[in-house]
Amino acid sequence: MSKGRTFRELPPLGLYVHLPWCVRKCPYCDFNSHEAPEEVPEAAYVDALLGDLADDMPLVWGRSLSSVFIGGGTPSLFSAEALDRLLSGVRALTALSPGTEITMEANPGTMDASRFSEYRAIGINRLSIGVQSLDDRALQSLGRIHDAKDARRAVDVARKAGFDNLNLDLMYGLPDQSLDAARDDLAAVIELEPTHLSCYELTLEPNTRFAAFPPDLPADDTRFDMQAAHFDALSAAGFERYEVSAFARDGQRCEHNLNYWAFGDYLGIGAGAHGKLSFADSGDIRRLSKQRHPKRYLEAANASARLAQERTLPLADTGLEFMMNALRLTDGVPSGWFEQRTGLSLAPWHEAIQRSVEDGLMQKDPQRLAATDRGLDLLNTLLERFMPEATGPVRPVFPLKPVT
């Protein structure tokens, strides 16, 4: 039975819900989003989501949810009524304790903001607003449909609606952006006093309009200077960097994302949603994904039609995938989590870790697996050392007695 992995305990379990529609596709976005039809079929989609979740439940019997994240697309295209039905369904099917983090993403448009208080009322307790920039010219170059005024108002409305756990997305390294402009942009966003900031460098992802028609981005060194300036300003404003691009004030980190980065489990429902689940009995880790296209997802009559791909994570790849996540956290994870969550011994990895400590890419702390600041900047270089062919053959944790 055993595939060579042993889990002593299973990690926390999150739930990701994907709502795939947007008013318009942004030129830099490579997420699974689709231009919305005149009328979003929200009732049918919520039905499909609940069917999807019900079908996935046997995979996670008895486990409670540690977080819920409603992402997209633009989830705020959905009415509070529809999302209420979704959340009620989720509560009926799963063990969802009060106080569990439930995040949703929202666009800063007027229409969207008008729904914020309702969203709060149905139990959503964390809001993530895709501000991206407070510079109207930059917003235009990013193809956004809102302006800075909308964004400011949205934040105001969100706070008044009772969202005290509020994330704003900010991008830097934008087309033709100067270092000063990036600085000013961040300062303006900090002034809005969010509790959490996701601060990304704009990347040209394959299969996007920007990849096909690349805009003029600031030079490498300028972009790096922007990062350095941002880190300083954020730290001065009381934000703590806890992941490559994530900053939190007063310890208000995002539980849901933390679980990804700690190689936890998650269910994914909705078009193109991905899930990752560990199984104590077989020692398997499985990755599942659902039909990407909303139309095909909606038409799927049953679980197998909805499923786009299901694969068992090969032993040899497990360690790398763990590191790809865990090393993004500034504090990394306790060393013991490697064995706990991959089901494999850390021993074959010691040499690569040792070398990375010597090269100043990983922290010299036997209790933790964590990159240094330099290691975070050069994470791809660091991760290369953990690719399957770079480390020795994997072996399971000893003893081989699984605990459920």
Binding site: Y260, M324, L379, N380, E384
Partner: protein
């Protein structure tokens, strides 16, 4: 039977249509069905078809019924056209009684054809001039006939007009071959002697040798003897290429065909060796071929140290197939264990590396090619070095002598000025300049090291592709040469050293260090690149440390894309060699070839 055999080669410049012409012969004589005729069947190596050139000699036997009704047995031995492979040409010619000189009726005579044609004349071959591409509007047969007569000096008034593409004149050529090329001589009843023209390794049957039987007769199941080693083998299979392998009972004097005799050991059937029969052995071997001297040397190293043994085996197999390839083990402090390999020229080197990588699935790094230098030391002793890092300390060197070649260049008048400028820049000394019709023949003495650099490419580009050249080694000549070292983070990298004329050394050294800066990607730490002559640092540049290399967003979504990114990044490093802590891409080792441009 011997009376009806004709052995011939084709001498032609690249692109003058030799392979197409050969294909026509095969078609006319029915060697292959139309279905089997893929364009240019003779260039059977993938590489040959891709590049549209012939690298190895090949042979095809065809039956041609002449207008008199008589059936003739034609053996056509294909030859390569590039200057690097001229030794293959002379080998092929030695198996023939005649040769077709194929000249493009619009482009005229090219230097390589001239050189090969002289080889044919020296070997007493009957040379038949053929004007190809006669159907092209730009064809100017009268002018080209004049050129042939003027430059090569053979009678060309009755040159056959052909278009291999459309089929014009093909029969006429075949008739002329039968009529004008003499049949082979050689006593079929004498003790057997067959010359190995080529041999190659086949994964299924072992070594296949292509032979020209000079005297006697070799039958299937005969016990044969390789004369140089005295070892005996059973001839399991003899026959001819049509170009498919066709079994025959025997090969007799005058015939060209193959022998397969279960030779597995590498190097047991070398080109130029003589095969005889064990029961009735000939007393003397045939003269064989002049050993070809490699002129260009480079270190080849496997990127993965584990591949060293496979690499050695691959070289041995390739060597069997390519007598011009030389190699011996070499160790570099930068690149580890590898081989110093000798080649005939740059194209030969490129082809060898590509064949090794493709046919033997190896990843190789090559150092910049260099030539052999003759070193006279202060004790009056002479030594030869083919690796710049082997150069003895300056204080024990009396004189460094570099190889000088005699280059013959043919170029249309319009470009003479540019070609002369190039030769001067390459330290050439003009010996002769002669107007031959529309073309000019230039003779220069040039240091081979300069020719190895980028002479051929530059010659082609400054003459819009019209200039052609061939060269031969002349002598070693004392020259004021210095070794330029490249230091990476303070350490000399032996594989990046080069020997350069003193007058150019400062500029070249600086350019080299600058090129390194462009080629070597940013690393985790700052990298200093210096160029030095002896202990004197002539240039320094810095490669700034890599600052950022991280994916901005990573959540629970599709991990496979992020993994692919890492795999791509890793694959990019496959062609890099780690020297100390610095990863150096292949291009860096060849950078010395690319400086000094324009």
């Amino acid at each position: 039977m011997q009376q009806n055999i004709r052995n011939f080669s084709i001498i032609a410049h690249i692109d003058h249509g030799k392979s197409t012409l050969a294909d026509r012969f095969i078609q006319v004589c029915g060697g292959l069905s139309d279905r089997e005729m893929s364009a240019q069947v003779l260039d059977s190596m993938d590489l040959e078809q891709e590049r549209g050139i012939t690298i190895k000699a090949q042979a095809v036997s065809l039956d041609f019924t002449s207008s008199s009704g008589e059936v003739y047995h034609l053996n056509f031995i294909d030859t390569p056209g590039h200057v690097d492979f001229s030794y293959e040409v002379s080998r092929s010619l030695s198996a023939c009684e005649g040769a077709l000189l194929v000249v493009d009726a619009s482009q005229g005579v090219e230097a390589q054809s001239v050189a090969n044609c002289y080889t044919a004349i020296e070997q007493d071959l009957e040379v038949l001039p053929v004007l190809n591409k006669i159907d092209l509007p730009a064809a100017d047969p009268e002018r080209v006939v004049d050129e042939i007569e003027e430059i090569i000096g053979i009678d060309a008034h009755d040159a056959i007009h052909v278009s291999a593409k459309t089929g014009i004149g093909i029969n006429e050529v075949l008739e002329q071959i039968v009529e004008r090329i003499p049949p082979p001589t050689g006593d079929a009843n004498a003790a057997a002697r067959a010359l190995i023209i080529d041999s190659w390794f086949d994964a299924y049957v072992g070594v296949i040798t292509l032979v020209r039987v000079i005297e006697g007769r070799i039958e299937r199941r005969d016990k044969i003897r390789i004369m140089s080693t005295g070892r005996d083998y059973q001839a399991d299979d003899v026959g001819v290429f049509t170009p498919k392998r066709l079994k025959r009972e025997a090969l007799s004097a005058g015939e060209v065909g193959y022998i397969i005799c279960g030779i597995k050991e590498i190097e047991a059937a070398r080109v130029g060796d003589t095969i005889t029969l064990a029961r009735e052995a000939a007393s003397e071997p045939l003269p064989g071929f002049k050993q070809v001297q490699p002129r260009v040397f480079a270190g080849l190293y496997p990127i993965e140290a584990d591949d060293y043994e496979n690499f050695r085996e691959a070289l041995q197999k390739l060597r069997l197939n390519d007598a011009a390839l030389h190699f011996e083990p070499e160790t570099s402090s930068a690149l580890g264990f590898g081989f110093r390999c000798g080649f005939l020229g740059m194209l030969h080197m490129e082809i060898c590396q590509e064949r090794l990588e493709r046919e033997y699935d190896l990843d190789l790094i090559s150092t910049a090619p260099t030539v052999v230098y003759e070193i006279a030391d202060t004790r009056g002793e002479i030594s030869y070095i083919d690796n710049p890092s082997d150069l003895p300390p300056v204080n024990v060197i009396d004189e460094i002598r570099e190889p000088i070649i005699l280059a013959n260049i043919l170029v249309p008048q319009d470009y003479v000025g540019d070609v002369i400028k190039l030769c001067v820049e390459k330290r050439g000394v003009q010996l002769n300049l002669q107007y031959l019709g529309r073309q000019v023949q230039l003779s220069y003495e040039l240091p081979l090291s300069e020719v190895v650099l980028d002479f051929f490419d530059r010659l082609k580009s400054c003459s819009k592709g019209y200039a052609s050249f061939e060269y031969e080694f002349k002598r070693f000549q004392a020259s004021d040469l210095v070794k330029v070292d490249i230091l990476i983070n303070g350490d000399k990298v032996d594989a990046l050293a080069s020997i350069i004329h003193r007058a150019r050394s400062l500029t070249r050294g600086r350019e080299l260090a600058e090129r390194m800066k462009e080629i070597i990607p940013r690393q985790m730490f700052e990298v200093a690149v210096q160029a030095a002559i002896g202990s004197h640092i002539i240039s320094r540049s810095t490669i700034k440390a890599l600052r950022k290399n991280v994916t901005a967003k990573c959540y629970g979504g599709d991990v496979s894309r992020k993994r692919k990114l890492l795999e791509k990044q890793k694959a990019g490093k496959r062609r890099m060699k780690q020297v100390g802590k610095v990863e150096i891409p292949q291009e860096a080792f060849l950078a010395v070839l690319q400086v000094d441009r324009g």
